[in-house]
Amino acid sequence: MSDSQWTDAAPLDEVPADDVIGMIVDGRDIALYNVEGEIYATDNLCTHGHARLCEGFLEGHEIECPLHQGKFDVRNGAPTCAPVTEAIRSYPVKIEAGRVFLSLG
């Protein structure tokens, strides 16, 4: 993968420890997660009720939607708890020079 495919999303220190933030990256609504220092990125909109996951609750590797408490695994976007049945998209992440880069493909 060439460097040109990586998009600079945010300074690493903007993603609070064991929490989630939302941001627009290249016009996309993205949620960034920090789980024990590891950064993950997914689409920010829940596939069920279309709430923003960045307003939800991160527990371990699971993000819980604030609207109906559906859950996704932030590592791969897979649904892990009802009512969600459809995965959210997850994105490869790399950290370089203290910044978070995403491959939005």
Binding site: F57, E64, P66, L67, H68, Q69, A82, P83, T85
Partner: protein, 404 residues
């Protein structure tokens, strides 16, 4: 004996989640899903809100996208009711004359809107709201400037009243009890809801029963039991739900205002389970046997029943969770508040966002509030973990709930 065919009666939310869960748990056998509606399983909360207002299409309520539903490989039988269960031969008879054999049967037959037993209750212009079809019919009738009379100041009635106001109708709510949502919330919240609706132009008549409805010109006239009359163009009756337990009763299953089940969702017949609005069980959070008519329970009990049918040990006792959206307010309730609990308020109870905690001894056992989803999520954790709390800290908005 291996389980090869699992039949689910009822294609609503509980039935849909039961089917989904059987596959999630790796069940490879045949799943037959019987539904009396033309729709694949859908969620009912939007029926009184976005779908009724016309903001959302019916498709948005489905549990599954079409492809995901197909992928479940369910033998789906829409538009048909189940007419009898033969528990001896383990067969289910359908109203179209067909029969289906089962190894396990999961009854998710839900309920139907209670109708009024008063003269004029069947007149054109009198509606109830339970299904997508009901929502479409009522939604079409809800035209700006029409006069809507809502009979029943419970959740359905209030949500429809709010949607109708948004669409520009003139709305009156009559409630027989002395306050709104009397069965489910404390008096403070009834007052809050009344204030909310009044501020949005809804007229509320409490302690008012409707004695009869009569046709009057192009509209209707409701006569109250104190003799007053209210003219209207349409009436929404939201006076509760009747459990569809006739199929189970006719088959000799134990019923008590619904199908009696245990925390494993098992009925009195070892091969028949029940879930959702129709099921009665000992709810440990409420401390009594009850049906729980909620989105959460339909989903969670449907999941639990499917797992139980596969021999997985389940204990269906989720912390009850309920919400209602009216105007600009999202009200959520966790747990079962009762008058015996001590109340602690966090924030200003006269404002549009506060949390009310219900304390039993040293524990929070329930919490509710408008526009406080985030705080309530932490409250849920306090309740579920049975955290010892200091009421003074709960009330202190300077202390984040996450820290308690």
């Amino acid at each position: 004996m291996s389980t090869e065919t699992i039949v689910i009666v009822g294609g609503g939310q509980a039935g849909g989640w039961a089917a989904q869960t059987l596959r999630t748990e790796g069940f490879k056998g045949r799943i037959v899903l019987i539904g009396d509606e033309p729709h694949r399983p859908y969620e009912r909360p939007p029926l009184s809100k976005a779908i009724l207002s016309g903001e959302a299409h019916a498709d948005t309520a489905y549990l599954h996208k079409a492809e995901a539903f197909s992928a479940l490989e369910v033998d789906w039988r829409p538009n048909v009711t189940a007419s009898a269960i033969d528990t001896k031969t383990k067969a289910l008879w359908l109203a179209n004359g067909e029969s289906v054999g089962y190894d396990k049967l999961i009854l998710c037959t839900g309920g139907r809107a209670r109708r009024l037993g008063i003269p004029g209750a069947d007149l054109p212009g009198v509606y109830t709201l339970r299904s997508l079809r009901d929502a479409a019919t009522l939604g079409d009738a809800m035209v700006a400037d029409k006069r809507l009379l809502v009979i029943g100041g419970g959740w359905i009635g209030l949500e429809v009243a709010a949607t109708a106001r948004k669409k520009g109708l003139d709305v009156t709510v009559v409630e027989a009890m002395s306050r709104l949502c009397e069965r489910t919330v404390p008096a403070e919240i009834s007052t809050y809801l009344q204030r909310l609706h009044t501020a949005h132009g809804v007229r509320i008549e409490l302690g008012a029963g409707v004695e009869r409805l009569t046709a009057s010109g192009s509209g209707l006239r409701a006569t109250l039991n104190d003799g007053r009359e209210i003219g209207c163009d349409l009436v929404l009756v939201g006076v509760g739900l009747i459990a569809n337990d006739e199929l189970a009763r006719a088959a000799g299953l134990a019923c008590d205002g619904g199908i009696s089940v245990d925390a494993q969702c098992r009925s009195s017949d070892p091969d028949i389970l029940a879930a959702g609005d129709v099921a009665v069980w000992q709810n440990e959070w409420a401390g009594r046997r009850m049906r729980l008519e909620s989105w959460q329970n339909a989903q969670e009990q449907g999941i639990a029943a499917a797992r139980s049918a596969l021999g997985i040990d389940v204990n269906h006792q989720p912390l009850p969770w309920f919400w209602s959206d009216q105007f600009d307010v999202n009200l959520q309730i966790f747990g079962m508040p009762t008058p015996k609990h001590k109340i602690v308020v966090r924030g200003d109870a006269d404002s549009n966002a506060f949390v009310m905690f219900f304390i039993d001894g040293e524990h929070v056992v329930a919490a509710l509030g408008p526009n406080s989803a985030r705080d309530l999520r932490f409250a849920r954790r306090l309740i579920e973990r049975r955290t010892h709390v200091n009421p003074a800290l709960l009330a202190d908005t300077q202390v984040p709930l996450a820290k308690l």
